[in-house]
């Protein structure tokens, strides 16, 4: 009997630095599996953000560049414009993409840059120690919203997938989750589609992934999964928000 399960070639052997219960590891694996399955590892360039995933390059086995906070989409634009044959993705968190890098992601999406963004939304700044993010939920306590996010003062959390879907330029925009196996299966499908659209030179693609951060949420991993499902999922509705390919959408 042959081997039926193994580590993707695109994933390195190094143990990650992520906290117990963090879902970055799951999302890394999904990206690695997709790149293996599509057979593009030899021409892939990943772009690491600033945030917990800043060291993502240690866990993948293909070329990587590291961007400054929020600038990954501009860097991806630079690569993709001069080397359209390379497969480029940015891997960004919510502080990076939705706060300091909002301008870069909106404009890259609006230009229809043919790269893929994996956007990890865990409703908090992780690396810097649990500060409020643009995606932090109403009343959620963080180190910079110690009494809970006051939407009167700082507004409602930003729904990135919906926001970018509002742009007229064709794109593939989807929101998925990885907090339970059933969601993981769907998330992988969406990530694969996102890369396929890029390979076909169709459009910009972004998959927002609802994720957990037990450490900075002050919860156990199990509590964190429950909280994400109870609080985040109703607000951050899962599903495809926009596709360049309406027929395919119906088949799915």
């Amino acid at each position: 009997m042959g081997k039926i399960f193994c580590k993707p070639v695109s994933l390195s052997d190094q143990a990650t630095h992520y906290c117990p219960g963090c879902t970055h590891g799951v999302i890394h694996r999904l990206v690695a599996e997709v790149i293996d399955e599509l057979g593009v590892r030899g021409r892939t360039v990943g772009i690491a953000p600033v945030g917990c995933a800043v060291l993502a390059y240690n866990y993948f086995t293909f070329d990587f560049q590291e961007a400054a906070h929020g600038r990954a989409p501009a860097m991806a634009t630079g690569i993709k414009r001069v080397r359209p044959d390379l497969i480029v993705f940015t891997y960004q968190g919510d502080g990076d993409l939705a706060s300091i890098g909002m301008s870069e992601i909106i404009h890259a999406a609006n230009r229809g840059e043919k790269f893929t963004t994996v956007f990890v939304n865990n409703a908090v700044y992780g690396m810097t120690g649990g500060q409020m993010a643009p995606t932090t939920m109403p009343n959620q306590r963080t180190t910079t919203s110690p009494f809970g996010r006051n939407v009167e003062e700082v507004g409602m959390p930003i729904k990135v997938a919906e926001l970018i879907s509002a742009l007229e330029t064709p794109a593939f925009i989807s929101r998925q989750s990885v907090i339970k196996p059933k969601y993981v299966v769907r998330a992988k499908k969406a990530i694969k589609r996102a890369f396929q659209y890029q390979i076909e030179k169709r459009c910009f693609s972004l998959v927002e992934v609802v994720s957990t951060c037990p450490t900075n949420w002050g919860m156990t991993p199990v509590e964190a999964v429950q909280w994400a499902e109870d609080v985040m999922h109703p607000y951050y509705q899962l599903g495809d928000k926009k596709s360049p390919d309406p027929i395919k959408d119906k088949e799915d």
């Binding site: 070329d63 590291e66 600038r71 870069e104």
Partner: protein, 356 residues
């Protein structure tokens, strides 16, 4: 090929193409928008990439991305835009990628004005962004020299895997002068397979490449910085460029001046010499590395009584001049920074006031 009358900004764009750089990302700002306007038409014709980015911040990372994957890339901007790009410059230097930035300086601080200035001297020469890094900074004094410096900048950036800046003032960008594009300055990009993220398939290798500036281990960061320092020290040994004017005979005053300002000084020196007041000049063509030794030697001449830094800024280069002269002569400053280029007559008055 004969000479063409060209505006500095357009000549800079053309020079990059002639040097073999076919990737340009930029954001419009006066007084250098003509580079983007020129390349918006010319780049597609040359089979290259032209993209107007959403901000100077984004542009500096487009350059970083393109350069990181092994392709030549450059941008142009003016002072306020350069401040925004300074973040990217720091990352590019830290990530050890080649890149060329052109700053057609205008007056500051803040929005300042749009007329010629040299007020970004310290920003350019001491590291515009954060951290321990330097850029090689070339300062042209004519449109022809701007062309040659742009063409030289790409191989230099690749030699050091570091950003190179062309530091011109508004006049260099706006003025038209006859130019020739020398064929011999066209260079092939150096082999980047050992560091660029050009894809493992491209370089037929199983070893992946990583472009990054993060070194969380203090010892690693220290040795990374020592490696960068060694590059900057090598620039000081190998890349200093300057020109002297009338330093072979005796002179009472030594001028240090660069860019457009140095041309005004040249005219002033001619006039002063015809009035029997001997003045000489050292013109740095690289302002980093600064021609310290040349300034020191010229200032040590027995006949030389005083040294004056003449610049379109409020006393910035004078700090490097003072450092070079090592207290052996009195060092003065003369300049203006409102956008009006000092006239030869004003320079003459400033020199005469010194030797009274």
């Amino acid at each position: 090929m004969g000479k063409i009358l060209m505006k500095g900004n357009e000549a800079i764009g053309e020079a990059a193409i002639r040097a073999g750089c076919l990737n340009y990302f930029a954001y419009p700002i006066t007084p250098q928008s003509e580079v983007a306007e020129y390349l918006a038409r010319r780049m597609p014709e040359a089979g290259g990439v032209f993209l107007q980015g959403e901000s100077e911040v984004a542009v500096s990372y487009m350059i970083f991305g393109a350069s990181g994957c092994g392709e030549r890339a450059f941008t142009t901007s003016s002072s306020p835009g350069i401040s925004l790009m300074a973040e990217g410059m720091s990352y590019i230097a830290g990530g050890e990628c080649p890149a060329v930035f052109v700053n057609i300086m205008r007056g500051g601080p803040g929005l300042g004005g749009i007329l010629p200035s040299q007020a970004d001297y310290l920003q350019a020469t001491k590291g515009a962004g954060h951290g321990d890094y330097r850029m090689l900074v070339l300062a042209p004094a004519s449109v022809q020299e701007a062309v040659e410096m742009v063409m030289t900048a790409f191989p230099l950036a690749e030699k050091y895997r570091n950003p190179v800046m062309i530091l011109g003032d508004g006049l260099i960008g706006q003025m038209m002068e006859p130019v020739e594009f020398p064929d011999h300055l066209k260079t092939e990009p150096s082999n980047k397979d050992d560091w660029a993220t050009n894809g493992m398939d491209t370089r037929k290798s199983d070893r992946r490449n990583l472009v990054k500036s993060l070194y969380l281990d203090p010892e690693l960061l220290n040795s990374h910085n020592l490696k960068l320092k060694a590059k900057y020290d090598r620039m000081k040994r190998e890349e200093i460029r300057y020109e002297t004017y009338h330093t072979e005979s005796d002179y009472r005053v030594l001028i240090v001046s660069y860019g457009t300002m140095s041309r005004v000084c040249r005219t002033a020196i001619d006039e002063l010499r015809s009035q029997r007041l001997d003045v000489a000049m050292v013109r740095p063509k690289t302002v980093f590395p600064f021609p310290e030794q040349a300034v020191l030697v010229a200032s040590e001449k027995e006949s030389c009584e005083q040294v004056i830094s003449i610049e379109m800024s409020m006393g910035q280069m004078v700090e490097d001049v003072e450092r070079s002269v090592r207290g052996k002569r009195q060092v003065h400053w003369f300049g203006k920074c409102g956008g009006e280029v000092p006239t030869p007559e004003e320079v003459i008055d400033a020199i005469k006031a010194l030797v009274k």
